[in-house]
C-alpha cells in the first residue's frame, strides 16, 4: 500500500465528527400522521383555536397533494406514517438561569460549539437553541427587548404576538405552496420568530441552532422573520445532527417579510449527517425558504453553505415586489460519497428597477450528484431590472455528477439578464503547482476549493465563515482520487 493510499484509507475511515447521541428522556408521540396527530401537537403547545384551524387546513391540503418528483434526485419512498411528529425533552422547557439546564444537554451544545454561554454573549451572538422541537433557552432577551426586537420561539409568538402571526404566517409560503410546505404547516413543532421594529438595526447577529435527536423523528421547523421599515437584521442558522442509520426527514419552512428600506441577511451553514460512505442513513432535507421584499429599496440576501444531508431539496427564493428592491443568493453546495443535492434559488422580479445576483458554487466528489436549479423571472412591470447569475461546478471524481438547470423568463424590453455557467475539474497544473510548493494533494485540493468558494464564504459573518471553511475541509476529506 502506498503512502497515499494509506493516508486515504485513514481519512475515509474517519467517522462523522458530530455523530453522537444525547441521552435525554424524550416525550415522543406514537408514529403516524392523522388529524389527531395535528390536534395533539396543537394542544400540546396550548395553541389557540385559529392556529389549530390553520394546521388542519394545511393537513387536509397535504392529503390531496403528491410528493414532487421533478428534482434531479433519487428519493427512496418515504413512509409518512412511520415518522413520529412530536418530541420534546421531558425536562421542563424553561429555565431561569443556565445552571438549571440539563448538563448533558449543555455538553452536547458545547461539543457542537454552540455559543450559548456567557462568554459567547460577549462575542455578540444571541442564541435561540432548538433542541429537537421545543426551544429550551433564549439568551439576550433583555438587550433585544430594549430595542423592541422580538426574538422568540414561534410557539411563544403564537401566544404573545397573535396579530403578527395571523398577518404573516403563510403569507410568503402559503400552506398550499408545495407538498412539504403543507406538511410543515400541519405539524410544525417549533422554530424561531423574529420581528425588528421600524428603524431598528439589530445590534447582534441572531442565531439558531437546530439539532435532530430522537430516532425516527422528523423535524418540522418554522421560521418567520419580519423586518419592518428601515430595519436591519442578520440571522444565522446552523445545524448538525447525530449519526443515525435510519433516514430522518426534515421539512422546514422559512418565511421572511422585508418592508420598505429594510434589509435581512440570512446565512445558513448546513452540516447534517450525510449518511455513511455507502449512502446508508443521513438526513433528508426538504426545505422551503422564501422571502419577499415588500417595500421599495428593501433587500434580502441569502447565503448558504451546504455540506450535509443525504438528500437536499432546497431553493431559498426572493420575490422582489418593491421597486428598487435587491435580492442576493450566494451558495456553496458540496456533496461527497452518495449525497444528492438539488438546490438553487428563484428570483421573481415584480417591481421596477429591481436587481438580483446569484452566485452558486457546486462541488461534487465521490459518487455524489450536485444540481443547481434556478429561476430568474422578470415580469412585465419589472422594467429596468437586472440579474446576473453565475453557476460554477467543480467535479472532483469521474463518478460524480454536476448539473445545471437554469430557467430564465423575461417579459419586458428594458431589463437585462445574464447567466453564465462553467463545469470543469481542478486543473492538473494547479495541483502540480501547489504540490511543488510542498503541499500534499489533499491540502492542495482543499486550498483550491476554498479559493473557488471564496466569493460566497466572504458573504458569511466572520465566525461562521471560519466554521464554513473548516467544514469544507472536513467534508472533502477522503475525496481525493
Amino acid at each position: 500500500m502506498t503512502e497515499e493510499d494509506k493516508l486515504l484509507e485513514e481519512i475515509t475511515a474517519k467517522e462523522y465528527e458530530h455523530g453522537f447521541v444525547t441521552d435525554i428522556e424524550m416525550e415522543v408521540i406514537p408514529k403516524g400522521l392523522t388529524e389527531d396527530t395535528v390536534r395533539f401537537i396543537s394542544a400540546k403547545k396550548n395553541e389557540p383555536e385559529w392556529m389549530l384551524e390553520y394546521r388542519l387546513k394545511a393537513y387536509r391540503a397535504w392529503l390531496e397533494m403528491e410528493m414532487p418528483d421533478w428534482a434531479h434526485l433519487k428519493v427512496p419512498p418515504i413512509d409518512f406514517q412511520d415518522i413520529s411528529y412530536y418530541a420534546a425533552p421531558k425536562t421542563k422547557p424553561k429555565y431561569d438561569s443556565i445552571d438549571e439546564v440539563d448538563p448533558e444537554l449543555l455538553r452536547t451544545f458545547e461539543r457542537l460549539g454552540i455559543p450559548l454561554e456567557e462568554q459567547k454573549r460577549l462575542a455578540g451572538v444571541a442564541v435561540d437553541a432548538v433542541f429537537d422541537s421545543v426551544s429550551v433557552m433564549t439568551t439576550f432577551n433583555e438587550t433585544l427587548d430594549e430595542l423592541g426586537i422580538i426574538f422568540c420561539s414561534i410557539s411563544e409568538a403564537v401566544k404573545n404576538h397573535p396579530d403578527l402571526i395571523k398577518q404573516y404566517l403563510g403569507s410568503v409560503v402559503p400552506y398550499r405552496d408545495n407538498y412539504f410546505a403543507a406538511l410543515n404547516a400541519a405539524v410544525f413543532s417549533d422554530g424561531s420568530f423574529v420581528y425588528i421594529p421600524p428603524g431598528v438595526r439589530s445590534p447582534v447577529e441572531l442565531s439558531t441552532y437546530f439539532r435532530i435527536n430522537t430516532e425516527g423523528l422528523g423535524q418540522f421547523e418554522r421560521t418567520l422573520i419580519i423586518a419592518d421599515e428601515g430595519s436591519y437584521v442578520s440571522y444565522l442558522e446552523g445545524c448538525t445532527a447525530p449519526m443515525r442509520d435510519e433516514n430522518q426527514l426534515h421539512a422546514a419552512v422559512v418565511e421572511i417579510a422585508v418592508h420598505k428600506e429594510a434589509e435581512v441577511k440570512y446565512s445558513t451553514v448546513q452540516n447534517w449527517y450525510p449518511g455513511d460512505k455507502d449512502g446508508k442513513g443521513g438526513i433528508y432535507n426538504f426545505v422551503t425558504k422564501r422571502g419577499i421584499c415588500l417595500g421599495d429599496h428593501s433587500k434580502l440576501s441569502w447565503t448558504q453553505v451546504e455540506t450535509g444531508s443525504a438528500i437536499t431539496w432546497k431553493y431559498p427564493s426572493t420575490i422582489l415586489k418593491g421597486d428598487h428592491s435587491v435580492g442576493e443568493f450566494y451558495s456553496v453546495a458540496l456533496t461527497n460519497n452518495m449525497q444528492q443535492a438539488d438546490t438553487g434559488t428563484k428570483m421573481t422580479h415584480l417591481g421596477s428597477n429591481t436587481r438580483s445576483t446569484i452566485i452558486s458554487k457546486g462541488i461534487s466528489a465521490g459518487k455524489s450528484h450536485n444540481t443547481y436549479r434556478g429561476l430568474v423571472h422578470i415580469g412585465k412591470r419589472a422594467t429596468g431590472s437586472r440579474n446576473f447569475s453565475q453557476c460554477d461546478s467543480l467535479l472532483l471524481t469521474d463518478r460524480c455528477g454536476a448539473h445545471t438547470f437554469p430557467y430564465i423568463d423575461v417579459a419586458n424590453s428594458s431589463s437585462i439578464v445574464e447567466h453564465e455557467a462553467t463545469t470543469s475539474k481542478i486543473a492538473d497544473d494547479q495541483i502540480f503547482y501547489l504540490k511543488q510548493r510542498g503541499l500534499d494533494e489533499e491540502k492542495a485540493i482543499s486550498l483550491i476549493v476554498n479559493g473557488y468558494a471564496k466569493e460566497v464564504l466572504q458573504q458569511l459573518p466572520m465566525e461562521f465563515a471560519a466554521e464554513a471553511r473548516k467544514l469544507l475541509e472536513i467534508s472533502l476529506e477522503g475525496s481525493v482520487g
Partner: protein, 429 residues
Amino acid sequence: MNRSTDKFLTLFQEAEAHLEQLLPLGQRRLKARATFEHVGFPMQKMEKWRNSHLRTIRETDWVFERTQPAVDKTQWPERFRHAPVFVNGVAESDDFWEERTDGVQIGSLRAALKHTPQRVFDHFNKNNKEDLFGTFALNTLLVTDGLWVYVPKGIRVETPVLAVQYSSGKHHAVNHLRHILVVEEAASVDVQMLQISTPDDNHFIQDITECFVADRGIIRRHVLQQFQGETICFSTAFSTQGEASEYHSNVTTLSSHNTRNEQHTRFDKPDGVARLGGLYLAAEKERVEHQVFIDHAVPDCESHEKFAGVLSGHAQGAFTGHILVREDAQKTNAFQASNNMVLSDDARVRSLPFLEIYADDVKCSHGATVGKLDDEALFYLRSRGIGAEEAKRILLTSFAAATLEDVEDENYKQFVVDEIQSKLAAVSQ
C-alpha cells in the same frame, strides 16, 4: 388517453390505406401506432413542452388532404425557385429521383423506397426516438414523403442540395415528412432547405430529418423558415455521428406562426464535432421555440451551440438546451450560448440552458443573456451620422448574423444575411 391522441388515431384510421399507398411502410406504421397510443400526444404540462403552444392542435379537427394545390412561387427567394418541392408533404414530381454515376442518390423518399428499399429501411427510424415524445411516433404514423440523400464512401458533393418544403391550404390538413440524409465514411454533403407556407395556410406540419454521419463524414444542414399563414410547424432533426465526423446545423426562422424546432445529436464515436446554430426573428404574435439535446455518449467530442432571438410585438421565444455528458465521456468540450434581444414590453423570452454532467475531465459552459439594444453602441453609431432606424438595424443584423458564423457556404450565408436585413428593416421600425 388525451384528446389529441384520440384525434390523430382516428385520423390515421381513416387515411391508413391512402398513406400506405403513398409510402408503404407496413408494420412500421402499426408499430408506431402502438407506441403513439402508449406515449400519447405531448401535453402542455410536460417539462419539455411547457413553452410550446398546443391548444390549437388540441382543439382543431385535423384532416388529411388527398389533392395537391398548384404551387405559387412568387413569394419565394430566387435561390430556391428551381429547387425540387414537397407540396403539402409529397414531392411535386412523381418520380423525383437522381442517381449519379458516383453513387450519390438524391430524390424523394417515395422514389427511394422504389429504387433502393433495403437502404431506406436500413436507416428509416434508426435515429428517430419514437418513444420519447408522441410527436415522433405520430410522424411515422402519418408520414407521406420526404427528401432522401445518400452519399457513398469518400464522395464529397460539391454543390449544395436544395429543396423546398411548401405548404398551402386552409382546411387544417396535416403534412408529415421524413427527410433522411446518409453520409458514408469520409463523404460530405450540404443540404439547404426552405420551409415556406402561403399566407392563407393553416396546416400542421411535422418534419423529421434523420442524419447519419459515418466516420470522418460531414453533413451540413441549413433550414430557412418562412411561414406566412397560421402554419404550425414542428421541425426536428436527429443526428448520430461516427468517429471524427462533423455535423453542422443552422436553422433560421424569419417568420412563423407557431414553430417548434428540435435538434437531437448523439456522438457514437470519439472526436466528433457538432456545430448548431439557430436564429429566430419573431414579431407580432409569432411563437418560436428551439429545443436542443446533445448526448455526449463517448469521450473526446466537441459541441458548439449558438442561438439567438430577436423578439418584438407580442412575440414569444424560447430556447431549451440540454447537454448530457455521460459517465466516461472524458475530454468533452461543450459550449452553449443563448442570446436574446427583446424589443417590446409585450414580447416574452425564456431561456433554459441545461447541463447534465457525469464525467469530470470536461470543459462545459453556457451563457445566456436577455437584453435590449446597447444604448452606447446606438449612440456611437448615431454620433457618426447614422439615423436611429439604420443604427438599430445595423446592430440587430450583427447580433443576428453571429449565429451564421459557422456556416461555410458563403453564398448561402450572404443570402440569409440579406433576408435577415430585409426582415429586420420591418421589425425595427
